[in-house]
């Protein structure tokens, strides 16, 4: 109920507004920003042995790429960042699983085409979000901390230490898709499931305008992000 059916995008916009004083914002807002920051990607570094990586390797590879993209954000420009992120996110994230979880039970009423369209829209929107939002670097460090196995996969803890200010916790929920580990959800501050927040947002759109409406909305959002 705290996160009732409202779009996540304004949160990202709020983060954007606060980006100028990234490390001065309250530590409660920064997880949101950092979460967004984490999705900024580095140039393609796709390893041929992607399927053999451990959950920690998946996460640390993504983190490394992310930092690298942030550091060269200005040179890459939006299109460059998008391309770099697309490569690493495609091999690290289970977009199909994320979309299914964010959609909920309605997923089972959808046709294969509708599902494919939704997964694609979700993927494009996610990548566009990070490509738009993460275009700066101010000396942040990322480090893996703990690991736990709650039953839904492996939760890989990460700590972000900014140049100054409090360090922030993150959790990557990594699960197996076939034989490969993929990120399925991200826990802000180690406790807030991003997909749970998305689910509330998607649910109201789906009930109003169906899968097509959601695809359209995600595409529009991605387009708007590209233009900023």
């Amino acid at each position: 109920m705290f996160y009732s059916g409202h779009s996540m995008t304004p949160v990202l916009k709020a983060a954007r507004r606060a980006q100028a004083d990234f490390f001065q914002v309250t530590r409660w807002l920064s997880p949101l920003l950092v979460a967004i920051a984490l999705f900024a990607a580095a140039p393609a570094m796709s390893s041929p042995a992607a399927d053999q990586r451990t959950p920690e390797q998946v996460v640390s590879n993504f983190n490394d790429t992310l930092l690298r993209v942030m550091k060269s954000a200005k040179q890459l420009g939006y299109q460059g960042r998008y391309a770099a992120l697309e490569a690493v996110m495609n091999e690290s994230f289970d977009f199909a699983g994320m979309t299914r979880a964010a959609v909920g039970p309605l997923w089972f009423n959808m046709s294969a085409d509708q599902r494919e369209a939704l997964i694609d829209a979700f993927r494009r929107y996610s990548i566009a979000t990070y490509a738009t939002q993460f275009d700066d670097y101010s000396g942040e460090q990322l480090r893996l901390t703990d690991r736990s196995e709650p039953g839904q996969g492996v939760l890989v803890g990460t700590v972000l230490t900014p140049a100054k200010g409090d360090s922030i916790k993150f959790g990557y929920l990594v699960h197996k898709v076939g034989s490969a580990w993929r990120v399925i959800d991200i826990y802000l501050d180690g406790t807030i499931s991003q997909l749970a927040v998305r689910r509330s947002e998607f649910r109201s759109v789906l009930s109003r305008s169906g899968p097509e409406g959601l695809v359209q909305l995600l595409d529009e959002k991605a387009k708007r992000l590209a233009m900023t």
Binding site: M1, F2, Y3, S4, G5, H6, S7, M8, P10, V11, K13, A14, T26, W28, L29, A101, G104, P105, S148, P150, G151, Q152, G153, L155, K169, G171, L173, D185, Y187, D189, G190, T191, I192, S193, L195, A196, V197, R199, S200, R203
Partner: protein
Amino acid sequence: MWARFIVDVVERCRRGAIWVAPLLLLVSAGVGVFAAGRLTIDANVANLLSADLPWQQQEAHYENLFPGTVDTLVVVVDGATPEHAETAVTALASRLTAQPDLFQSVQQPGSDPFFRKNGLLFLDLPELSELSEQLIQAQPMIGGLAADPSLRGLFNALQIALLGVRHGDIDPASLSQAITAIGAAINSVITGAEHPMSWSEILTGRTPRPEELRRFIVTKPVLDFSDIQPGARATEAVRTAARELGLTPEHGLRVRITGSVPLNDDELASVEEGAALSISLSVALVVLFLFIALRAVRLIFIVLVTLAAGFACTAAFAAVAVGTLNVISVAFVVMFVGIAVDFAIQFTVRYRAERHRAPDEITALRVTAGRIGAPLSLAATTTALGFLSFTPTDFRGVAELGLIAAGGMVIAAILTFTLLPALLTLVKPSPELAPVGFQWAAPIDRWMVKHRKLMVAVAVCLAAICAASLPWVRFDFNPLHLKDPNRESMATLLDLMNDPTANPYTADVLAPSPDAASALAEKLAALPQVERATNIDSFVPDDQDQKLAIIADLNFFLGPVLNASPARPPPDAAELRQSTSALLEALRDVIAKHGPDGGRGDLEKALAAAAAGDDALWTRLERALIPGITAELAQLRAALSAEHVERATLPPDLVREWVAPDGESRIEVMPRGDVRDNAVLADFRSAVLGVAPQATGLAITVQASADTISQALLVAGVTAAVTISIVLLVALRRIRDAFLVLAPLVLAALLTLATGVVLDLPLNFANVITLPLLLGIGVAFDIYFVTRSREGLSDVLQSAAARAVTFSALTTIGAFGTLALSHHRGTAEMGILLVIALGYALFTTVAFLPPLLAFSSKHPNSRL
């Protein structure tokens, strides 16, 4: 011949008065003491009807297989929140379990770990899916609290939410409920009260359903049948435990007691409660009417002593004949006083009349005995027969009462012919200077004789009108309608009847095996009169695959946070102050933008006050808010571990509630509709019996007992009518006289029933006693009048007999009528109906018997 015998007995007692009176009083006192030591009371209402009845045996068989369901004391706990109710009921149940001397068993329905774990599977699919979405929405809050189950975790989670509001991501209204609840909780801790708050409500945003706020403890108390309230000790133990545990309305909890045991206890208590007033008023009225009738303190003394002796002897007879009184036969006390006083009054009033005419006491007594001996014996015989008419029926409670009362009639008659004359001789009342009858009634007598045809026509018309109303005579079989609705046990039960899951009016059906029960339950559930048919397979949820999929989905979001161990050490006071001021800051930002509504202003005030308070306040806040969170998270964790349920994997205790060791399985059938409506229950019963003739359970047995009682009434009515008619024929030797005795009585009965229809006073288990009583007393009245007329006199109303009948009726009305004051509805209605019936008996006797008699009288007036 009989009259001569009586005269002889009275004469002997007069002569030997000096030893007859003390001897009889001594014997009476002796047997009275014997009775006091021997007579016991069985307060078990189940024993009122014969145990040999097929439906009683079905019930006994059922109770034998499933002993947990009878003689129960049910504790109903209503909490302001589901958590409060749950915590309270668990604490209370463990207290009661620790007292095995008072409680044979203590059960908490639905509190089995099985339900804790698989509870979500019992929700409907749409309901579960909705709940699941709401919990997913609350994931951020749940995640924050699970990682840091402390005030700090709570305040931080709230602060994140408020940041979302400030940035327009979150609708401020969606937080109102939580903010209001948390603000109120903090405020109540600061002010020293404990305002309950529901974490499940805050986390799911869903108002708990009434049944979630209500928990039950079903106990089987150890009963002490030597106490008039056999469950009183157990009830008291529950109250004490509730008080000691602080389960009071101030703490948001309401503990009430109901169940068959407290219902019976309360019923008996309510019978007892009005009793003191009723008895004293009754005694006062009896003495008053006796005084008006007898006009002499000595005579009243004699009558009362005779009554007391008769009472002692009757009690002794009861001790020998039945040994144990039941809740109905206890009424013999009132019955005896009411009827025995009639004999004494008839005798003494007649004695006064003869004393006025006769030269001396000896002659007066002899004439009195000669005149009153036969009719009084006849009245005693017919009254006794009226009471004995219940003996062949299955209505054991009244049959025993009838036996005792019949014995009492014989005893009262014997004492009236022995002790009374002896006492009259010893005490020597003053001579009578004036005639004893109603002198003023002479014109009425004449008028009635003159207009006898009119009077008889009026009587016939009245009878016809009343007979026409007979189809509307109702018998209310529902014993609960007799109880005081303001008593806790009854008020609680009425409240529960609104709750379709707790309604006590169920049918219980046995089937030879769980499979058979399942099949039969399906058939029963298909009946339109049936709301639900529960059996062991009802605990195997439907659509489990889909439900488990929803739970797995929910677990995806909540599992990772719920199953992680709290990451941070408990906060110290400094940290709490820090997170409070951070929350306060976020809250003030939101208030600046959205205003103080939705509980925000109150929370702001409460937080500011808390921030200004001392460190001890934090400890109290933690204690008030955090255990609820921990409990709710634990419940959620358990519920997410739901697994596929099959009959074979159900917990054994649950299975035992529905399947007996020999495999016999029960089905609990709930009626559809308002069970307080007898028509609904009647329809339900016939529908269920149509499918399952072996059905028992309260909905069936209350009606079966009503049938048994109606049948008993019919049998008793016919038996009484036949035997009384035969006795009257034999004694009076004239069909016309026998008819004259019975006719006013029939009219009185018809008038009584018709009045019941008009006043909406249905017949019920308690007041049906009126009918045999009416027969017994009414017959006596008419006999006195008819025999008076056979003496060749048409001055009936002026006679001593009229005076005796009037005051005898008034005395009995006085004795019984005060029952109307009883707190027990059944007893009160019995009192009202008795007053009506006896009033009519007096009225028909006085108003219609004289004109009827005039037709057959040899008096010159009748030939006018």
